[in-house]
């Protein structure tokens, strides 16, 4: 492989533009305030990113399959609340956790079934879900936070500090990332996800049940959202009714910045991971340089647009370069 070939291969990675923006952003914050890369702050970033990143993984898989889930933020809040209620009434930690995961998969299955069977856009189904699960969370708690007190082994397994810089939730996040990325690239289910999102009619004509594929993705999405919420509550020892609000758009932003298409059929989880780190770096960096916190959304907005334009431009160039060869 010559230098030109290598260059094309690298540029063709959809993660290239988000990687460049991430590196540039880190350097900017570091040059303004060197404390940004202090071991303490890096540890904070590695601690808070995974619980949100786990949610973005599910959202990305679903987006590749051609659907959206706007309910993940609400499920992120609802799942730990439900678990807190179970724990509060004396149910064993692991049984409550299993029950909550089952409830999350039922939420995903319901939203998926409604979307697939009625043919209404998932944007609408899950917008409904977003309001329903958040509303239910508020009804259960009356708007007050609940104590979240699982057994110690549970807290350690999901949020324990294993080594310097390395928390359990980071390992869980990276583990899920590797498994799901492997499925996307090396398992036939991954091929079906790309096909269903890329061109549903073609996938169906080849005998793939697009409805089944999508429902599985909806379930995955809700389960990962619930898992992320439980991890956050375990870390903070409380479950808040407004936990995870706005997360649905953060997750979509992370996916899109990382090269996932809003129209389905295109995307990688590595890109989403980088996109998620980018969002958290901007959020945390603005605090470190003492910018008013209101700037966060403004910068994320700019980054989304720049990253997507970057992706598009690079993709077009490389396809032309390869065809011309």
């Amino acid at each position: 492989m010559g230098f030109r070939e290598l260059g094309i291969t690298v540029l063709q990675k959809k993660e290239i533009s988000v990687t460049m923006i991430l590196v540039a952003t880190v350097l900017v914050f570091y040059s303004i305030q060197p404390r940004f890369l202090s071991s303490l702050n890096v540890e904070v970033l590695l601690k808070i990113t995974p619980e949100l990143g786990i949610v973005a993984l599910g959202v990305t898989m679903l987006m590749i399959g051609g659907e959206f889930d706007l309910s993940v933020g609400s499920v992120f809040g609802f799942a730990p609340l439900l678990m807190a209620v179970l724990l509060g009434s004396g149910v064993n930690t692991w049984i409550s956790f299993a029950a909550v995961m089952v409830v999350c998969s039922l939420i995903g299955a319901t939203q998926g079934l409604i979307t697939v069977k009625t043919g209404i856009p998932s944007f609408i189904t899950t917008l409904g879900g977003m309001l329903i699960w958040r509303g239910l969370a508020l009804v259960i708690t009356g708007g007050h936070p609940l104590y979240f007190t699982p057994s110690q082994d549970f807290t350690y397994i999901f949020t324990g500090k294993l080594f310097p810089f390395v928390y359990s939730q980071l390992i869980i996040f990276l583990g899920l990332l590797v498994i799901l990325q492997f499925i996307l690239e090396r398992h036939k289910f991954g091929n079906w996800v790309y096909a269903v999102g890329g061109r549903r009619q073609a996938a169906e004509a080849m005998g793939i049940s697009s409805g089944q594929v999508k429902i599985i993705l909806f379930i995955l999405c809700s389960v990962l959202a619930g898992l992320g919420g439980v991890i956050q509550s375990a870390r903070m020892s409380q479950a808040m009714p407004n936990q995870g609000s706005g997360l649905e758009f953060d997750a979509i932003a992370a996916a899109v910045v990382g090269g996932t298409s809003l129209f389905g059929g295109v995307g990688t989880l590595i890109g989403t991971m980088l996109g998620e780190f980018l969002c958290r770096v901007i959020e945390n960096g603005l605090i470190i340089i003492r910018a008013p916190s209101y700037y966060f959304r403004l910068y994320i907005g700019i980054v989304i647009i720049v990253a997507v334009i970057g992706n598009l431009y690079i993709q077009r160039r490389t396809v032309r370069m390869r065809v011309r060869k």
Binding site: H187, K188, Y194, A195, A202, A205, M206, G265, V319, V323
Partner: protein, 245 residues
Amino acid sequence: MATPLVEMVNIHKWFGSVHALKGVDFRVDRSEIVGLVGDNGAGKSTLIKILSGLIPPDEGKIFFEGKEVHFRSPKDPMKLGIETVYQDLMVVPYLNVYRNIFLGRELEKKVGPFKVLDIEKMKKEVERLLGDLGLRVASPDLPVEALSGGQRQAVVIARAMYFKTKLLILDEPTNNLSIKEARRVLDMVSALKRAGISCIFITHNLHHVYPVADRIVVLNRGVKIADLKKSETTVDEIEKLIVSA
């Protein structure tokens, strides 16, 4: 006479109050290329959708190799070896060539207890197939969207050859192609015939199908108005039939 490969008898289809097919008989023999011709709205697509399992007929029977069959989904005809290629809709643009060819029937290998895609084998098979079709695609890794229209048809035809299809249904395969590429597709259809694969070639352009077809069937407003062996007719005769109908 030998049993036809496929025989559709007295097929009726209504869409609401529209009588789209009015008792059509249609048959394809082994290693035969049948041109299915007619204007827009003649019922060509409806007939083919029934044969590929996308919609059920309201009346009528379908026989495959002499046995009556009932198609409930596109999977059923595929199991028998009937593949349909819709106008440029059969490939997923962002997936690469080999992932498209093996879509839904991926080659797998076992790694421990898990089955994973056998990417090396799929790539090798694709290179061999495209070589057989005399087609040069830069790489099986290329996304299909980067290919020309003719090359996309080749991908689909390669798929049919690999999976030992018995009948390939091509819906307007030469639409939007340059003359040179259309020629290529016709050559590939002839190659299919030599490999023993029957073919239904749907088009509204008689001149595209005439050079390769063995038989021409003309539909008009849901009725079969002609079913002629090419050896017993001429382009002019069929053209007159279409125009005067």
